[in-house]
Symmetry: C2
Subunit: 336 residues, 2 copies
């Protein structure tokens, strides 16, 4: 049987260097890497990952638990997934995708002993998947938060994001500002944490302004956006600006408003929060967005989890990063 030592001798490097290449645990000079990869191929070496896992009781596999997306996932979600996969590979781990909507579906996954740890996306305020993870004793990091702030998480700072959006709009003279969120197919009070937290921050900001709040929850679709445009016109005609926490509805809101005779930004200013700038550019007029730090958070989450698995973590992560304002052409002065 070919061993790692054989590969090291053939490539004329140390066993440690071979290990760095095979496990992806340390950068190795390209020429050295090429020599080692050639030796691996010539000798038909296959490190037995399974035998190693049995010996170490570690598989170096992480699970990314994401919902069984009924609506289309957006660019931000994809950036989370891809950056987590990259970050895992860079530290010699592999990321498996597990589509699960609730804790009930997870037993046969967790019972398998396949994964060393888990990342959880689209976290709800009360989330049965989190309860199941805690019961399973599999280490995890949340991308998002439940109502229990003590669990390990990385998250968008929705309160700071909403505050910044309101401040930007106030700079253009807006005071009557509506919030458009996404309907969740879960019992009230159990919505995704981001909607609960953004909602609360919005209510606080309106109270501080001394203005009445106006919140509209619609589907995350073009049709949802058109419904929001009509509701805004009919029920909240005094609103001169709107903050969306619903990327999927943003284009429909702009198109729907136009169809109702209200132009963005002359009659209505629009900010789409937690939205990729590439997305905002596609709309006419280009949307002013708050860009989600998705790539950064995906990497932070996977690194925090691996730090815990490798025993180098001092305290569970509690990281909040706000979205960054990227001005487009959808915010203008408030109509007189």
């Amino acid at each position: 049987m070919v061993t790692m030592r054989d590969v090291a001798e053939r490539a004329n490097v140390s066993i440690a260097t071979v290990s760095f290449v095979i496990n992806g645990t340390k950068p190795v000079a390209p020429e050295t890497r090429a020599r080692i990869e050639a030796a691996i191929e010539e000798l038909d070496y296959r490190r037995n990952v399974v035998a190693r896992a049995l010996a170490s009781s570690r598989t170096r596999i992480l699970a990314l638990l994401h919902p069984d997306f009924e609506t289309r996932p957006n660019i931000t979600v994809i950036q989370f997934v891809m950056s987590a996969a990259h970050g895992a590979r860079e530290r010699g781990y592999d990321l498996v995708l597990w589509p699960v909507n609730d804790g009930e579906q997870m037993s046969h996954l967790l019972a398998g002993g396949l994964v060393d740890g888990a990342l959880l996306m689209e976290v709800q305020i009360r989330d049965s998947r989190v309860e199941r993870l805690i019961a399973s004793r599999v280490p995890f990091t949340l991308i998002g938060r439940t109502e229990d702030d003590d669990l390990p998480y990385v998250d968008i700072d929705f309160a700071a994001t909403i505050d910044q959006a309101v401040e930007h709009l106030r700079g253009f003279g807006h005071r009557r500002i509506a919030l458009v969120t996404q309907c969740a197919k879960v019992p009230p009070g159990n919505e995704p944490g981001r909607i609960m937290r953004a909602h609360a921050a919005y209510l606080d900001a309106m109270a501080a302004l001394g203005e009445p709040p106006a919140v509209i929850a619609v589907e995350g679709t073009s049709e949802g956006g058109r419904v929001a445009a009509r509701t805004l016109k009919d029920d909240f005609p005094e609103a001169t600006a709107v903050i969306l926490l619903n990327e999927g509805a943003s284009a429909g809101l702009v198109k729907g408003s136009r169809a109702l005779g209200r132009t963005v930004p002359d009659d209505l200013s629009v900010i789409s929060a937690s939205t990729a700038p590439e997305f905002g550019e596609m709309i006419e007029p280009s949307l002013t967005v708050m860009a989600a730090p998705a790539t950064q958070l995906g990497r932070l989450a996977v690194n925090a989890l691996i730090d815990k698995l490798d025993g180098v973590q001092e305290a569970p992560p509690h990281l909040l990063i706000p979205c960054a304002l990227v001005p487009g052409e959808s915010v203008g002065p408030a109509p007189a």
Copy 2:
């Protein structure tokens, strides 16, 4: 040590039924499943997936090889990824995500013996990742095609898709039809297979029409779309319609044309091929798209691979499915 038999006795079911739940290999009635899951939890049973893999020399893990996306992945790409992950789970397999751009990066992944098989996305006409897969003797299925049509693949039928788009435009009186593709960061002749094949089908269709071809390759961004709009106006002013094989540039093409005084569809008709209808709806006017069968292809690819691994496949898959036309508001009669 707790065994599967203990779980079966506690839940008062057969060992086979416990196995169906744990391996996800057969549907089990919800009440029975709940009883088995409760028994698993009460007994703290952990099937040792690692020991099983060692015994069977199978890990039941598949890799999805996708590029290290430099530009944003689109909805279609994510539908491939998610549907493959779902399809794998339904047959008791797990899907790991491997971001790799070329075969050089794959040795340490394949040498690990972690995966039973691989799916490959964004396949190029000549693709070093495919060569490395063949050398590694890891079974695979391509989502896309190289120049070697004998390899196992599922793919969009780009020739039929382009033909259908041309036919749709001809029904509106268009004859001078341009094609906008995406620049690939690879040597000429080594582009993604979809671009090569769509290009060839387009040239054939124009030859059949007796009209000169006009092909523009731009970045898959809003800026790329604006470049295409200007090139169309300056270099191909006689073109009355355009077929995009570049979703990322489609919004920029429409906005850029408008900025140059050319309205869609009055002055220029637009079809965006291999594009999700939800995406087309966001543009003003709503784009006529050819919807990619991404979810269907993702499942077909993973099922074909698992059929091969399970020894129930008779011949390697060679499956082609065309995009489906979804009319929007971006195609109108050719200007006189």
